[in-house]
Structures are given as C-alpha cells and as structure tokens.
Symmetry: C2
Subunit: 891 residues, 2 copies
C-alpha cells in the first residue's frame, strides 16, 4: 500500500517510466500442472529471487492480477509493472537557482532574427512553450552534483529538494544498471541482470511501457507522426524527452540532412533544366542527329549485326546531354562542398543539442554510472563464454596444480581466432557473391542481346538495347534487395561470432560489417557501369571475347554516362520505394498479424470476458514490435547519402529524389516509433557515433569518385580537348567526327563481318568510337596521339578537381566554426557566472574562517585540534549559517 500511494503521487510528474517485464514460464503461485521440468523449476526460483530483489530495491511490482489469479492459462505471459522513479525528464530539469535570460540581439541583426522567426513560424511544430526549449537558460554546470553547494547559498528552501532529487537520480541510475546488468552498486552484488535473464530464457522480454495517459505522446502524434506535418520542423526536444537522447539525435540528424537536401535538389533541378534548355543548341548532339553527316558505324555484334548509321542513336545522344553537360562539373564540385557543409552543419547542430540537452556535463558523475550501464557492461554471451573458459582452465589448472588468478581472465585472440577466420572468409565469400551477381547480370546482358540480335524478328531486333537494359537493371535491383536482407542477417551472425565484450563494441563492429557488405552490394553494379563497362570491349577486328564467342558489351553510342544515370536512378528509386513501402510498412504489419494469429491459436480457450475487458497497456505494448536499434534506419540513410554524393555527377536529380523520400521517411519512422514499436529504453548519447566517421569517409571518397566520373565516364574532357587543341574554328563542330576512328572492313576477322548488309557493297570503311590510328597509318589501329593527349587531360582534370575540392572543403571546415557563435558566447557567460558564484562563496568561507579563528583566540581553551576541526567544518559545510550562529554567540 505504501508503494501504491507513492506511485499515485508520482503519476503526474512528467517522464516517469514504467517497465514491463514479460516472463517466459508459468506463474509460480498458480498450482497448475506446470513446473514438472527441473529446468523450469530452476527458472522459477531465479524469477522469484529476482523479483524479491526488485522489491528490495524499492521498486513497485504490480502483477497482472487477472492472469495470476486464474490458472496458468496463458503460459507465455506475465507482466510486472515496475515504476522506476524519475526518468530523464525530471533528471534533466536544471537547477533553477541560477537562471539568466538569453540576451536578445538588438539592432539590425535582431530585426532580421525576428523576421526570420516570424517567417519560420508556420514550419514550427505547435508545442507548448513550457515543453519546448525556453528562452531562459539555466547554468548548466549546476548538474554537476558536487557543485550543488554553490547554489545553496541563497536559497535554503530549495535545498532539500535538490538533495532528494539527486538521491532519486542516483537511485534511478542504479536501478537501470541493476536491471540491465545485475551489477548492483549499493545493493546486493553479483546477481544476473535482466538482460542475462532474458538471454537465458528466464524472462521473455523487458521494455518500458508507452505512456498513453501522458500528453507527450498526444503531442508527438499530432505534431510529428503525421504525414500532414511534413513541412514542419520536428519537435526534437519532445522526441528526446520521450525516447531519449540517442533516438532524438537520429531524428535531429535526419532533419538536418533533409533540410540541407533542399538547396542541393534545387541546384540539381537547375542543372537538369540547364541541360534541357541547351539540348537544342548543343553541337555534338546536333551533329549526331544530323542525317547528312551519315557516319557508317561498325556493327555492334559479330555476323548477325549490320552496319548502322550514327543518326539512329540520336535520341540517346540528346538524353545523354541532359546529364552530361558543363553544368554537371559545377554540380559535382557543388555537391562535394555540400557534403563538407553538411558535416559542418551537423557538427554545429550536435553541439547546440549537446548544449541545450546538457550532455556536455556527461563527463561528470553521471558518466560514471553511465559507464557501468548496459552499454558498457559485458554482454551475456561474452560472459557465458568467459565462464566456460574459466571452468575449462580450472580443470586444467587442477591437473597442473597451479594457483588460480581470479579476475584477470580475458578472452584472448586464441579464443576469438575461429570467429575471426570465419569472419574474414565469410566476408570474402560475400564479396565474391556480390561480384558474381554483378557478373551474372553482365553475362545475362551479353547473351540476351546476342540472342536477340540473332533473332529474325525485326521488332525484337530494334528493341534489343531497351529490353536488355531494362530487364538487367530490374534483375540487379532484385538481387540487391535480396542480398541486402541476407547481408544484414549475416553481419549480425558474424559479429556474434567475434564475441565482442560490450554492447557498444558489438554495435560498432556490426555497423562496420553491415556497412561494408551493403555498400558493396548496392554500389558494385553502379561501379561496373561507371568505370568498367565498355572499356574492355576491344576494337573492330580485335574484339575481346568471353566464354564461347560472346563479345564484351559496349556502352551506348551516347556515352556510358546515360547508362550510369539509368542504373543509378532505377536502383535508387527502386530501393527506396520497395524498402520503404514493402519492408518498412508491410513486413511489420505482417509480423504483427502473424503474432496475433499465433497467439490466438495458442490460446483458443480464452473466453470472451478476457476480450471484453479493456486491454492493459502491457498487453497492448507486448503486441507491438520490439525495438531493434537504430542501425537499419541509419544504414538506409547512409546508403542513400552515397547515392546523393558518390555518383552525383551523373545524376543531378538524385538529391531531389532523396529529399522526397526523406520527407516521407521522417513521418514514417515517427509513426513507427510512436505506434508500432514498443517504447525503446531511453539511452543517452553525445553523438551519432561511428556513423559520423562513415559519413565523413564517404564524403571524402565521393570527391575522387566524382572526379573519375566526370573525366572518364562523361565526355566533358574530350570535348574540352577538342575545342581548345584540335578544333580549327574553336567551336565544337567536327567533334563527333574527331571521336570516331576508321576501320577498314577488309580487316574483319573471318566470320565476324556482317553476313548480310543493306550497305554491303558500298562500305569499305566503318567508324567506331575510339582514338586510334586510321588503317592507312603505318601504326594502324594503335592508340593515336589524341588518345594520349585526352588521357593526359583526363588525369590532369582529376588531380585538379580532387585537390581543388579538398582545399575548398578544408576551407569550409575552417570557416564554419564547429561551435555556433551564440553557444560559445553562452558557454563563456556561464563560465564567468560560475566563477562569480564560486568566488562569492569562497569569500564567505574566508570570512567564516577568520571569524572562527577570532573566536578561537577569544576562547583560548580550544587546542589546535579543535581549530582544525572548525576549519574543516567550515570548509565543507559551505554555508554561512554556522558562521552566523558563531557570531551570535560572540555577541
């Protein structure tokens, strides 16, 4: 009853957590037919002991009475409700002793600020002022428990509150730790924690309950998890209050990313429209479409294919200009800088979140308990393996009669070696799987197009390229989607094999592995198209063949860039659409359905009075999907960031598609977190961790990739070289002629010449796209001087581009300070305020000591020991009150 009363009083306070623990076995009180199994019996005992401990720790345990009262009808279910006093929300409310107003900026910039705020108003979520970040900021140093005394000089009334709160905080932390790890700091030591118990199958699961009575969730529903709110900022502070810092940071990051995608997609659209506008004045594509020029091209396949006119490829040439124009180069530079800017912006945003959420104080006492919390504690699996090893060693040691050294045990590389070997070999296997998938699609393309070209149906023949490309890309997409799921599971399995010690370590390794595999998977076909396709096809008369006579594929006449563009857009769009819609919405719903069905099947005898009863929160929440970490969410976004940054030179619309996807993604994720997942444990975090490194690495990698795409995949450099080195008029006229080499048809190897040709008699020389010496040169078919000049220009461009962009990125990095100016000013001000408070207190203390000394001298009887005591007393009471009383006695 005592507990119940206490809880009632706490109900109203924001952020109080209820934790639900679902047991696996039957309920002990129920004298049913269960507990026949000795293992089950043991589990029962452990459960009882654990519950007793929880009660000892001052936790309120609330049983699902309906279930416990009845027989063990639902063996899979039992709920504890544990009211853990004071969660993050109360914990974070700063000490109100030293508030100060944020300075309003005056003058012109102040007006600009106000205007900006007004303009921004419709995009702000409607959150009551008290819950959102208020404009009155508190001295953040006050959270440091040891400095609490600083704030008690003036306000003795709030004194006990602080102490209580602080104690509550401590308890909360301890309980969290205790629950998670079994390491009780103050209480009985060395019990298995709830995670270990779950791992051992004693309990089914443990999760905090959604707080539907709590008005946060209503606000979150209305202002965040709704598609109608797509144009609004997210209520980040609210999210963080309800879900904790880690999830808050994820959504903040997603918000910054999405916001910065807006300028990127705008510029992308402009670049695209520039391409559209100039397509009719573009000389190379005009020349290609000009039927009067009439270039007779060499056949695209052996025997079956005929010579063809370049003007028939007019449409691809025009399409390719949309993505391959000088604006693309500018866009690639812009996007590289954009990536640098994005990183800087995020750093700043993180900094201001760290400041306003007071995470910078994590150094202090809180980090100590935090360090011992679930994130840092050895994982159950690690512990059990360690235990096994220890036992084995003991046996060995008994044999060898050596002394045992306790506590020094660690898993050495020898224990982990098998795991590592499996790891490396599996990853290599996965890599080869990816490559063979890509290779398989290539084979498919080559063979299909060869077979289709051989077909007699003219309809089939004319659609070869379109059909083959379309089907191949779709196959690629399906393979990527399937392998993605497989790789996700494999990464978890491999990381488990490595037996990482802590949860943090586990997460980091898993992320690295999963990223590596999924990145390879998503980008391997794109890399192939960008850098390898068509480069090993050989030349007429000396084609490269694979297997039994299939010629290596060439790029489309308009250049490889258009193919890259198609590949990229389909994979990007397809991946996003399918993964978002089917995997993220569909599969959870299916799973839930399956679980409900199974539940019903398992407990068909459940009477309708059970159903009629309003379901308890734990019942409702148990039906939800468990929260499985942010890794998939981040991964999806990072892979998308790759599409936006890595090959952006070939597809300027990528940022736009990413933006559209993300606007939906945010609300989708929000809905998922609010309504479809069990409420996750609130985890504190200062930053987004390893993801930042992956992002910044990707940003750097994108510079060199874009440089290569522009110089090797696009025709930008050959055009430049032609215009400034070879063109006699200084214009682009004659460029197409310049890029096509001559081939004497008599040099065809036997059997490779077209069998029947409509041009048969007239054709003596056909053209192909390459820089080679003409047949009449002494060095016929060798690379020409132009080839080397263009190559040199391409390479020079890469060096120039890479170093220029790196320099500019460094500049961006250097110009934009990591800490926003207002925050650094705030911090400085807080520091001075703190110094003031500190010094005032110091002064008081000095006076106190002096008065004590005076008294000592007056009294005379007190020895040095007493004086010492007095001084020490005054040193640590840090309150003038005892001093005042002393003075009083003097009077």
């Amino acid at each position: 009853y005592h507990y119940r009363r206490r809880r009632a009083s706490l109900r109203g306070s924001p952020g109080h957590h209820r934790l639900s623990i679902i047991s696996n076995g039957s309920f002990p009180v129920s004298g049913g037919g269960g507990a026949a199994d000795p293992a089950e019996e043991e589990k029962l005992q452990i459960r009882e002991e654990f519950e007793a401990n929880l009660a000892d720790a001052g936790l309120e345990i609330e049983r699902d009475k309906e279930v416990s009262g009845s027989d063990a009808v639902r063996p899979g279910r039992r709920a504890f409700l544990t009211a853990v006093v004071s969660a993050a929300a109360t914990l974070r409310v700063p000490n109100p002793t030293q508030p100060y107003e944020l300075k309003e900026v005056k003058g012109f910039s102040g007006k600009m600020n106000a205007m900006w705020r007004k303009l921004n108003q419709p995009f702000q979520p409607k959150v009551p002022q008290m819950l959102s970040q208020s404009r009155t900021k508190f001295l953040s140093h006050s959270f440091s428990r040891d400095k609490l005394h600083l704030y008690n000089i003036k306000q003795k009334d709030t004194f006990f509150d602080n102490a209580t709160r602080s104690r509550i905080v401590k308890k909360h932390n301890t309980i969290q730790t205790f629950l998670n790890t079994g390491q009780t700091l103050m209480f009985t030591p060395c019990l298995p924690g709830i995670t270990t118990l779950i791992a051992n199958g004693v309990y089914d699961s443990a999760f905090p309950l959604h707080d539907v009575s709590f008005f946060f969730i209503i606000l979150l529903h209305d202002e965040w998890a709704r598609y109608g709110a797509f144009y609004k900022y997210q209520p980040i502070d609210l999210i963080r209050k309800y879900f904790g810092e880690k999830i808050g940071l994820y959504f903040a990051w997603l918000g910054v990313y999405t916001q910065l995608l807006i300028p990127a997609s705008l510029v992308g659209i402009i670049v695209f429209f520039y391409g559209c506008a100039t397509v009719d004045t573009n000389v190379p594509s005009l020349e290609m479409c000009d039927e009067r020029q009439n270039f007779t091209m060499c056949p695209l396949c052996d025997g079956a294919c005929d010579y063809w006119h370049l003007s028939t490829a007019c449409s691809t040439a025009r399409a390719s200009h949309l993505f391959d124009n000088p604006a693309t180069v500018f866009f690639a530079i812009f996007m590289s800088l954009w990536a640098a800017m994005f990183m800087e912006h995020w750093k700043r945003r993180q900094m201001s979140l760290t400041y306003s959420w007071d995470l910078s104080g994590l150094e202090d006492e809180e980090v100590m308990t935090f360090a011992l919390s679930s994130q840092e504690h050895p994982r159950p699996k690690y512990e059990s393996i360690l235990l096994k090893k220890r036992e084995k060693k003991k046996i060995k040691k008994i044999k060898k009669k050596k002394k045992n050294e306790p506590g020094q045990e660690k898993l050495t590389w020898r224990d982990r070696l098998p795991g590592y070997i499996i790891n490396i070999s599996s990853i290599l296997f996965m890599f080869s799987l990816t490559f063979s998938a890509v290779f398989g699609v290539i084979i498919y393309r080559i063979t299909t197009s060869a077979l289709m070209a051989m077909s007699t149906d003219p309809e089939t023949k004319s659609n070869v390229r379109v059909t083959v490309t379309a089907t191949a890309v779709i196959i690629n997409l399906v393979v990527i989607l399937i392998l993605d799921e497989i790789y996700g599971a494999v990464a978890v399995w491999l990381t488990e094999l490595e037996i990482p010690k802590t949860e943090t370590e586990f997460e980091e390794r898993l992320i690295l592995k999963a990223f590596l595999l999924k990145f390879m998977n998503a980008y391997a076909p794109i890399f192939y198209v960008a850098f390898f396709k068509g480069r090993f096809a050989g030349r007429p008369g000396d084609y490269v063949y694979i297997f039994n006579g299939f010629r290596m594929e060439e790029c489309a006449p308009g250049g490889c860039l258009i193919e890259l563009c198609i590949q990229l857009s389909i994979i990007m769009l397809g991946k996003q659409l399918i993964q978002n819609n089917i995997f993220e919405i569909g599969i959870p719903k299916l799973k839930k359905l399956y679980r409900t069905l199974k539940e019903k099947g398992a407990a068909p005898e459940e009477s309708d009075d059970q159903l009629a009863k309003t379901p308890q929160q734990w019942d409702l929440d148990y039906d939800l999907e468990p929260f499985e970490g942010l890794t998939p969410e981040y991964m999806e976004m990072i892979i998308q960031f790759g599409f936006v940054s890595l090959f952006v030179a070939s597809f300027p619309l990528a940022p736009l598609f990413a933006l559209l996807n993300n606007v939906i993604e945010i609300r989708l994720d929000a809905k998922k977190f609010v309504t479809e997942l069990r409420r996750p444990n609130a985890v504190r975090a200062r930053d987004i961790g390893i993801w930042y490194n992956i992002l910044s690495g990707m940003g750097k990698f994108s510079v060199i990739i874009n440089a290569f795409v522009i110089s090797f995949t696009s025709d930008f450099i050959p055009r430049l070289v032609y215009q400034y080195m070879y063109s006699e008029t200084g214009t682009m006229y004659g460029f197409i002629d310049h890029t096509l080499s001559y081939f004497n048809v008599t040099n065809f190897k036997p059997g490779t010449a077209p069998i029947s040709s409509q041009y048969d008699k007239e054709v003596t020389v056909c053209r192909y796209k390459d820089y080679r010496e003409p047949p009449w040169s002494p060095l016929a078919y060798q690379f020409s001087k132009q080839y080397w000049a263009v190559l040199a220009a391409r390479l020079a461009f890469i060096i120039l581009f890479q170093n220029l962009v790196m320099l500019l990125s460094t500049l961006v990095d250097w110009v934009i300070p990591d800490v926003p100016k207002d925050i650094s000013e705030q911090l400085k001000k807080e520091k001075t305020l703190l110094v003031d408070v500190f010094l005032r207190e110091e002064k008081d203390k000095l006076q106190l000591i002096q008065s004590l000394f005076l008294k000592d001298k007056d009294g005379g009887e007190a020895g040095p020991r007493a004086r010492c005591r007095a001084a020490s007393f005054s040193q640590f009471t840090r309150q003038p009150s005892p001093g005042q009383t002393v003075k009083h006695t003097e009077v």
Copy 2:
C-alpha cells in the same frame, strides 16, 4: 618581520616563486633632484599605490636596500622581490589519499618491458626518483577541488593541510591574475595590472627570478643544458616544473620530433647508399657516360656556344642517379607515412603528458581562473584604443544627447579596417618582394652565364655552370636570411595593427602571418627549381627569350632533380648553421655585451664597493635577455620540418641533417633557457596549439608536392614508360636516345647558330632533351605521341601516389590510437576507483540521514524545518563523524 619569517619558512619548499619588478623611474624615498616632471610624479604615485596593493594582497615586498638607501644614482633600476607562495610544483602534488600502484605487466611482455627499460637506462637523465615520475600514481580526480571531500573520509589528519593548500592555490592564482591584469577577484577591483603598467612605462619589466639556490636548476644544468648529455632523453618533468607546461610541451615536442628523425635518417642513409651502390650498374648514366654513343647536343646558348657531346655531362648524370633512383619513390612514400606517424606519436605523447601532468583536469575550477588570466585578458594596447574610442563616442553622444550603453563597447570592423587594408597590402607586397628576389637571382644566373659563355677565357667557359649555380644559391641563401629577419619584424608590426583582443589571439595571428611569410621566403626558390626551371625554355630554333635576348635557363643535362637537390641542401644547411650559430648564439651575446657597456657608460661613478659586493639575483637576472615567447623556436623547427617532408623525394639526406641539427638545437635551447634568458612566467597549456594544425597541414601538402617532384622533376616516370612501353628488350638500354629529340641545324634562326664550331661541317642534326617529332616528320617539332604518353603516365602516377599515401596515412591515423593503451586503462581504473569512493560516501550519507530521521522521530520536537536542516547538513558535511556523534547520543 612577519613577512620575513614567513618567507624563510617557505624558502625550502620546492617551486616557490620570486617575482622581480623593475621600476622605470627613480625611487620615491630618495629626495634627490628627480620628480621635477609632473608625468614622472604621476607615475610615482601609481607605483606607490600599486605597491601598497601588493602588500595588501599579502605579498612580501623586498626592496633593493642598497639602492634605495643611497641617492638615486641608478635611475633605471629598482627591484621588488615578491614571494608568491606556492608555485606549480606544490600545486600539482596530488592528494595522497588515494594512491594506487601501477600494475606491473607480467609474463613475456613484462620481461620485454624490463629489458627495454634496462637498455634504455644509459639514455635516461639522472633525476632523483622523487622528482621524476614515480610509479605510484594518484587518483587524478582529486585535484578537482570540489571533490576533495571524497578523500577525507578516512584521513582526517591530512584534512587541514588540504584546505590550506587549496586556499594557497587560490591565492596564488589570484595573485598571478592580479599582477597580470589588475583584475582582482577578491580584492579591490579595476586596478591596472602590471602588464598595463609596463606598457605605460611606469615599470620597466617584471619577471620571476631564477632560483639558483634551488636544486632543480643544478639538475637542469647537469642533465639537460649540456652538450655532453646529447644522447640522453630530456628530463621533461623537471623542465615543466621549473619553466611551466608551455615550455615543457615545446621541449617534449622537440624531443619526439628528434627521436622520430632517427629512423627517418637511417632509411634516408640506406636510400642514399642504394643510389651509390647502383650508380655503376645504372644503364641511363652508363649510356650518358659512354663516349661511343656520342650524342651531339644542340648548343646551350646562342652564337657563342658550340655543339657539345653528352658524354661530357657524365659526372652530373652519375650524381643525379644518387638521388633519382627507384628507392627515392619508396622513400617519398615512407616519409609521407612517417609524417602521419609523427603526428600520431605526438598526439599520444601529448596525451600521456596531459595525463601525468594532470592537465586533463583543466576543465575544472582552475580553468576558470585560468580563463581570466593574462592569456585571455584584453591586451593593454587593445584596451587603450578601446578607451580612446569610448571617449570619442562619448563626445559624439554628448553632442547627440543619446544615452550611453556601458560595457557593450567593442572594436568593430570599422575600427580595424585600416589595419586590415595595410595588412593585406603589406603581405602582398612581401610576397612580391620574395618573388622578385627569386626572379632577380634568375636574371643574375641567366646574364652571368651568358656573359661568361661569351668570354674568351676557356677556363671561365668550362666552369660556367658550377660558378653560376654556386654563387646564385649563396645569393639566394643570403636573401632568405635577411628577408627572414625582416619578415619576422613585419609580422609583429602587422599583427599589432590588427589590434587583436587577447594575448592568445595575438599569438595565433602572429604565428599565421609569420609562417606564411617565412614559408614563402624559404621555399620560393626551391619551388622554382623543382617545378618551373627549364620548363619554359622552348626548343632549339624556337627558344623563349626574356629582356633583350637572354634565353631562359635550362636544367642540367642530368635532370632538374640534381639542381633541386643542391639548392635544397645548401639552403637547409646554410639556414640552420647560420641561424643557429650566428643568430641564436652570437646575437644574444652581442646584445648582452652592448647592454653591459651601456650600463657602465651610464653609471661610471659606481664605486668599486658596489662591484665587490656579491651581486643580487635580480641584478644578475636583469642582465639576461628577456624571454620573448616560443614562436621563433617553433618557427625554426616547422620550417625545418618542411625541408624534411616537402621535398624529401629529392634529397633523402634531409632527415639526417635535421637530426644532427636538432641534437645540438635541444641543448642550445636548453642552455639559452637556463643561463641566458630571464626565467619566463610559467604558463599552463594543454597542447602546442596552432602549431599542430600547421604541422598537419604541411604533412598533407607534402604528399602532393612529393608526388609532383617524383613525377615531374625526376626521370622516374619516363624511365618506367620507356621500359614497359617502348623498350624492345624490356631493359633500359636505349633510354637516353629515346629521350633526345632531333633538330635539323638548318632550322636555326639566323644568328642563333654557333658562330664557330669544331664540328662545324659534319653536324647536320643536333639533339635536345624533349619528346618532339623529328624534323622529317610532317608535324616537325610538335610534341610527339611519347610526350603525351609520358605526361599521362606522370599524371596517373600523381593520382595513384596521392590517393595511396592518403589512404595509408588515414590507416596509420586509425590504427594508432590517440590515447596510449596504458593511459586509457589507467583512466578507466581511476574512474572505477572514483565511483567506488563516491558510492561508499553516498552510502555513509544515506545511513547518516536515516539515523538522523530516526533521531528526529525519537525526539519528536524537531519540525520539518529542522529535519531539512539536518539533511542539508549531512549532505554537505560529508563526514561520518557527526553521524557517529549522533549515534553516540542515541546510545
């Protein structure tokens, strides 16, 4: 007398500081003829007030009695001796309550460690155990004053000591701040600080005195500032104790740099010897020396010069092989990685120093006072300009009758604009000065060689190249040395014009400017030789001329690398030798001599009893040079680091020369600090600041520079291309022939052909070093296909090299953790220990509160107010003792 006694008692304690303040004017007590000047009078008053304040602050003031007693005979001199209680040494001694032993590593690695320590023994400086880092480490968190209570649970005896010490620390900090800035924290506010007083000419200078009686200085003399100790590690802890953290960090950095130069110079020597060993088997140089091959080269100058045989340039070809061989490429990669390794090593070293010097706690209270100390306080100049501005504004405001807003004043960009404009224009002017100096030397070289070639003396003619190169390099060196001094002064002047607010800001801006100017100055001629020399010379028949008919200079027949190598080695060696020996040793001695002479001249009537008297410490120290910051020392080393990293591909012996220089430099600097400079103020610092950024920027820059040197300056790429693309046998035979183009002598422009030639009749075709089409080709004298192929290869190499090295550097960065393993383990252990202590205390407190509650209930009379008081009391006494007494009464 009280002060005297107190001081005597403090004499013995290590690290007590005496500060000497030298007044400018005459002594006030002396009723001499002075003080006629009203300005002088005012200064006198300020001085008296300041001294009175010092005395108020509890500082001991000791006057130079001999001087003050006599008449104002030495108007320029008076010394205060101010005993500032407790310096860094006592301040840093950790709280000895929670010592713990560093764990001895056992097993194989432990043995290795012990062996390493034994091997290292002779290199360790002989420092008594108690002064050096002991193997017992204390909980570093204990320095945090607020956590002191944690350590008083068990040891009540040491209690008062802590309190006293802590108070002393406070006082010390305050006094330092007070002296430097006049901002008294507890005492009277807003007096001008000593720095301002010195700036205003009220005092002459203020510096802490060398402590000759103190045995640190003897140890420093013997174990550090002695050339004989060159092979030993530096006693860094001792240096830091005597000179403070900032200087300690400089020497630690210098030590790490010098130590890491050892492997670099070893590899450099090996590379050099590889060149020596292979010079006789190197095909290209053999071919060049082979007189049978007999390439007739085109003349080196117009008219006067004759055709010549390539075999006459045999010696330069052989010399050039020493530095231009495949091993150089390896060495360039190695040195880039070495630079990355060096940065990582320094980070680790800095981390362990931060740990063992307990600088990581700088966050805490100390940083607060530190933040207000001299480094962060507005500079006197800034303040005076601000004052002027404020007054101007006031006048304006009085005119406009507006209200005054105090405290909001700042210097805006408008006040600084003239400074910035002068800045930018001066820097541009300095740049153009440097470039014109380089250009001047080029002109000198061109004209002199042309004139000498025209001379009829065969002796002169044969030595043209040697004479011209040698004199030109020496002129370059002299110009660099002179401009270096000028630029140093200009940088200071320019930074003063910018009116930076704080000392830190001033230093940072000064460093950036000085670095930019000095870097340009030192490297401009080297960059010219590496990348521009000989590239704009044109070809026979179409030479490039500057001014009235002087042909642009070409590289030596052996390639430009050998010239770069000569240039680099002479500038590097010359700069180091001259700047080290003449500037660093000679000039201070001269200055000292000059000052002594002037002193003697000014006070000739000083009687011999003055001289006979043993001179006081302040007299001795006043004769020493004032300490002027570490900037020149760092600058010298950074420029040297540039020689070692930027062009190391051309001169593998650079690290060796740097090593030799640094071994001397360390001891030279040590001697300077110990015997030739006034003792600098101990300044705390956590890192080497902006120098780290400059170093890391230079490391990154060196990658691309080395890539360009290898691919464009050396002949590495042409050789590779020849061997794998053009050589029919796959060997290097025929390489020289391949690199030489043909020129038909009939194509010489009129007047440029040799006037008289010993080959006159036979020569129809001469050769020159370039890849151009032969005269019989239709595109005669245009760049040949080989040219473009080689260019492409060169550029490809740059891309490969740069990205490979960047990748490897990132790997090095990633593999070597920033925090050494033992330190991170230590930190973890400390954290757990702290948590333990904290929790124990928490538990005690809980018990105490419970007992208090019990007592309350027993007593019944105490209201809630009393309970609150009791709780608050227990909260902040944090000692079980009151609790125990309470219990006692219960019993």
